[in-house]
Amino acid sequence: MAAVEQQAPSGESADRFGMRRKSAGGPDERLAATGRFTQLIRRPETGAAAGFFATMIIFALLPGAANLYSLQGSMTFLTLSAELGIIATAAALLIIAGEFDLSVGSMIGFAGVVIGLAVRELHFPLWGGIGLAFAAAILTGYLNGLIVVKTRLPSFIVTLASLFILRGLSIGITRAVTGRTQIPYILEDVPDPATAALFNGHLLTGFFQWMATQGWIAARSDGTPFVTGIPMSIVWWLALTALAGYVLTQTKYGNWIFATGGDADIARNVGVPVGRVKISLFIYTACAATLLATIQVMEAGSADTTRGLLKEFEAIIAAVIGGVLLTGGYGTVYGVLFGSLIFGLVQMGIFYTGIDTDWFKVFLGIVILIAVLVNNYIRVKALGRGGGK
């Protein structure tokens, strides 16, 4: 008793309780152990970044590397990465908040159909069709989130239902209205180059043209370069990644995302609006799918009810490769950027090496397995010691 109440006059003599008072200034002698390497490896995006550079080196050593790493080849695989990255970033935030959205792929198909039908059948202006698709996405995301939050059912099941419902609606409505499963010539009757360019244009076209005239990049016989600029899909991807990264790590809302996925009950007890966080992220994934659908429709000029098949799984895989913990509460969007890069690189790399693209899925499976193992290892490292909560 006496020992407990006795106040230690200086820092050192408080040591009897295995603790010391904070002395003014000076580093803590217990902090020394963490080296730079451990600190680096503790960052959740490190595994994915290392994986990306390893994949780059592997393909550099294989035949076809010159084509893969040419400006044209790079732009192609970056576009593939961008299209995946747009939805993977959204999926990652949702996974960090502890939920899944399996309806992303179907939402891509559905949003395309909405744009196509609105423009072709209802004679909406192009921006109107796109607006309608985003409205449908907000509603879908809201319903997904609301059902998950209110019923406390696993989002895996709830969004699996949405996966089938949205896909069924896409095919059913399109066939009922047009008698086909594709909606062609969407851009024909509605010339709206400004809106289309927002999703399908290129940035820095002048610069690329100038580089072509200087003879620095490959050009056609008429002098126009093969790569006319940076596709808008890449711009959207990088912008959304930067924005999502800022929100997740710098804002109050980002803190709530981590807390919601870390332990929803504890988060709720300290006043985090867990339901609102989840619902807003379901809306974000649906909108990201719609953005991708819009880009694809602008690019192809047509909508197809089978668009986006299996994209939900690719998005989840890219997030996991990027170091996002499947059980929630931990991860980064910058890792997902590398996860998407690996995906695009492997897909194009296999094409350029001349390996039968049938093997892409085998490769993909192996990459996923490695990613999950690394994911687990990093999590343990992040906690600084073995396993457990």
Binding site: M1, F17, M19, D28, A267, L383, G384, K389
Partner: protein, 274 residues
Amino acid sequence: MNVPAMELRGVSVNFGSVKALQDIDIRVFPGEVHCLLGDNGAGKSTLIKVLSGVHRPSSGAIFVEGRPVAFRNPRDAQGYGVATVFQDLGMISLMSITRNFFLGREPTKSGLPFSRINKEFANRTARQAMADIGIDIRDPTQAVGTLSGGERQSVAIARAVHFGAKVLILDEPTSALGVHQAAMVLKLIVEARMRGLAVIFISHNIHHAYPVGDTFTLLNRGRNRGTYAKSAITRDEVISIMSGGEDLKAVEAEIERLLASIGNKAAAPAFPPP
């Protein structure tokens, strides 16, 4: 000092036909450590849930600083300055000390495109709040999951103190801890007491409760078996009342009879050497 920081008057809690708590009176004053002691099933968990706002009493009243209150939930209770550190500590292991410390109360500053958490301020404040109560944390950005049990408990207590708790309720804060870690938490309890907080310390471990407690309320089978100032009761008396005194003697006598009846068999080694 005459107005209790928190008071329960005639509180009973029924779950269907089960009377979990009957007619409990408790008063705790600022600068006092009030220990609630009881064996398993004594009603400690139910009582803490009433104090913290998880359960509403079936009858009776709760007063905070003399005013009657009805907590809707733990967060509501916090608004009255009644902070509870539950056994899960209300902290998320994968998040950093600072992020946990300010969760739900993040300090922000303007930023583009959205206002951002003021991390320098948050880290500094979390560190300072810990230092104020005598805990030195290595790095406020490390995950709570990397801390020891005692350190986690300390962060949770520091958070409650920093955000202006007048009544600090601790649910078995030392039960899962080793000797050194428990001592660290007990010292924090004394520290909180010296700052004028009313501390309600729930425990079934008299050896942890007795050194720091000023007042002891003993619970048994949902009833208050008496509230004693420390000067009025010894450690052994507390143990005796907690375990139901006469009951324990009866159990001891029964065990002795049992041992006597098996006599020689028990004395012989179970596995005689070959």
